[in-house]
């Protein structure tokens, strides 16, 4: 639209997002940077022991300078473990959320497009998936197939897929029966174009909100499974396993548990805020 844009409305200038969103952006950015630069940032390896400084409290609570967030009962540096845990948990949470969203949305679109038998199969799967307690499914899969990180992420990806499938199917059907998708279809657009270029961007806001809801759930689920010993296996570490592990020392050394718990809370909160903001930003009618 180069030569048309002569008098494009100048009102859409860039505006700084609200403070809370800025904080959320900053926090998520910090977490991502931490995850990517874990090897550079961490002062120690997450398995390195310092037996002379076991259960050392953080700086300011009588701790030693070389362990800013204290150490656990084996003298492992909490700060270093936290950094590696952030990398692991973000990998799991983002990976699983994206897998779940992609799988659910594709199946929902398939159901909406083909209707009939395909739709009934997908919806049966959705009901099946929604009626099984996920923890039991996860336990049985991990018990049968053993534990590997890839399998674990894929398994958690199955956690909320039925939600995306339901949303995508319902919205695609309503758009297809009456509205823009029907209009685009009768323009001669291929299903790829219709779903990729029109339906998906239009329902993306709902899916994004759903993803920001699923993201904290997956972090918590990962914590729960790790706590049960089925998630991330030691010596690998994740935020959830740190919390589960630190629970035993809750009264004597609360810093082992508190720092990963704070990271979980702040990250899930920031993702929710960001998702909410992003949904509004992506909608041209709300600008």
């Amino acid at each position: 639209m180069s030569d048309v844009a002569i008098a494009a409305p100048a009102a859409r200038r860039f505006r700084l997002p609200p403070t809370l969103v800025m904080f959320a952006l900053g926090w998520v950015g910090l977490m991502l940077a931490t995850a990517f630069l874990a090897d550079v940032l961490a002062p120690y390896s997450y398995t390195a022991l310092d037996l002379r400084n076991r259960l050392a409290p953080p700086i300011g609570f009588g701790g030693v300078l070389i362990h800013p967030l204290g150490t656990d009962e084996l003298g492992r540096d909490v700060f270093s473990r936290l950094i590696y845990s952030i990398r692991m948990s973000l990998l799991i949470a983002f990976g699983a959320t994206l897998i779940g969203a992609a799988l659910g949305t594709s199946l929902g679109f398939l159901a909406a497009h083909f209707r009939g038998l395909v739709e009934q199969c997908v919806m049966a799967l959705v009901d099946f998936s929604a009626s099984i307690p996920f923890l039991i499914l996860a336990l049985s899969v991990l018990a049968f197939f053993g534990n590997s990180l890839t399998l674990f992420i894929c398994l958690l990806g199955l956690h909320a897929w039925e939600r995306y499938a339901r949303i995508a199917r319902g919205l695609a059907i309503s758009a297809g029966s009456q509205g823009y998708a029907a209009a685009v279809r009768q323009l001669g657009a291929s299903p790829w174009r219709n779903y990729g270029r029109h339906v998906l961007p239009n329902i993306a806001s709902t899916l994004i909100v759903s993803m920001t809801l699923a993201f904290p759930e997956i972090i918590l689920l990962e914590s729960g499974l790790s706590f049960l010993g089925l998630g991330v296996q030691p010596p690998e570490t994740s935020l959830g396993s740190m919390v589960g592990y630190g629970r035993e020392y809750l009264t004597r050394a609360p810093w082992i548990l508190l720092s990963p718990a704070a990271v979980i809370v702040l990250t899930t909160f920031s993702v929710s805020v960001l998702g909410d903001w992003l949904r509004d930003r992506l909608d041209p009618t709300l600008r």
């Binding site: 180069s2 030569d3 823009y180 029907a182 209009a183 323009l187 001669g188 657009a189 239009n202 009618t285």
Partner: protein, 332 residues
Amino acid sequence: MRTSPITTPLLEAQNLMRRYWMRRGAFGKATEVRAVDGVSLSLERGKTLGLVGESGCGKSTTGRLVLGLETPDAGTVAFQGAPMPAPGTAPWRAQRARMQMVFQDPLGALDRRLTIGVQVREPLDIHGIGDAAAREKRVLHLLHATGLRPEQAERYPHELSGGQRQRAVLARALATDPALLVCDEPISALDVSIQAQVMNLLVKLQREFGTAILFISHDLRAVRQVSHRVAVMYLGRIVEEGEPDDVLHSPAHPYSQALVSAIPHPGRGGQRILLQGDPPNPADRPSGCAFHPRCPVAFARCSQESPALTARPDGRLVACHLAHEPAIARAA
């Protein structure tokens, strides 16, 4: 009269029938609903056929059938002499460049996340017409032809008024220079003042682009303004077809008479034909002529025998026992 034997019409539909199955209650028996029941129509290049009828009479379904968006349960649609490909197939998609639809609700028909310019260009992108520069030019030309300003290409649908949106929908529909345009109630969602503008625009665009139009509306006056022929539908069937002025001035079918008398007219009060009975239920079709329970001049034969749509001596097509036999009309 309907089809000249030498040239094939642009669009020829024969005995279209479309059934739906409706279930009453969770365990009720499925009943057949004939939304369209034996409709035949033909449309010449560059001409407009108006299709009038009350809501639920099957006029929109007829529009979807002739566009090939749905397949009829019986009957055939031929576009430029060739039968319609199955919906969703590649030839069907390619054929969309030749036939387009204009919807009742322009805001619903436009993607609210894309600008008008992108959407008007979309048919060109889909069908791979011209290079980027040619498409830009075409978009500007279409915007101009439909009375939109060039800078409105940068706007989103919600930033335009209802009339401007319908113009944008028209511009998009005309992008590939289609031979057939089906307008399904294109003006009923608009203000009265905008309605006239959009109808004038339709007439102007038809002259400019040479498009044949199937104009579906419940507004007899709107249809008269744009159409070269008018067909009146009642409960899935065409009951009368003829020249717009003839049908409006001397409607032959009792239902058309009631429709015409319902047009508000200054200085002509108290002459309206008020139809008796309930609006028709396609799931429970009356026997014989579907209109007979509400018809003010029905007689015994009407409830037994369904009248065929046949031509009168003056060329008008009417489906009514009385219209063809004035003797009975007088006796009744």
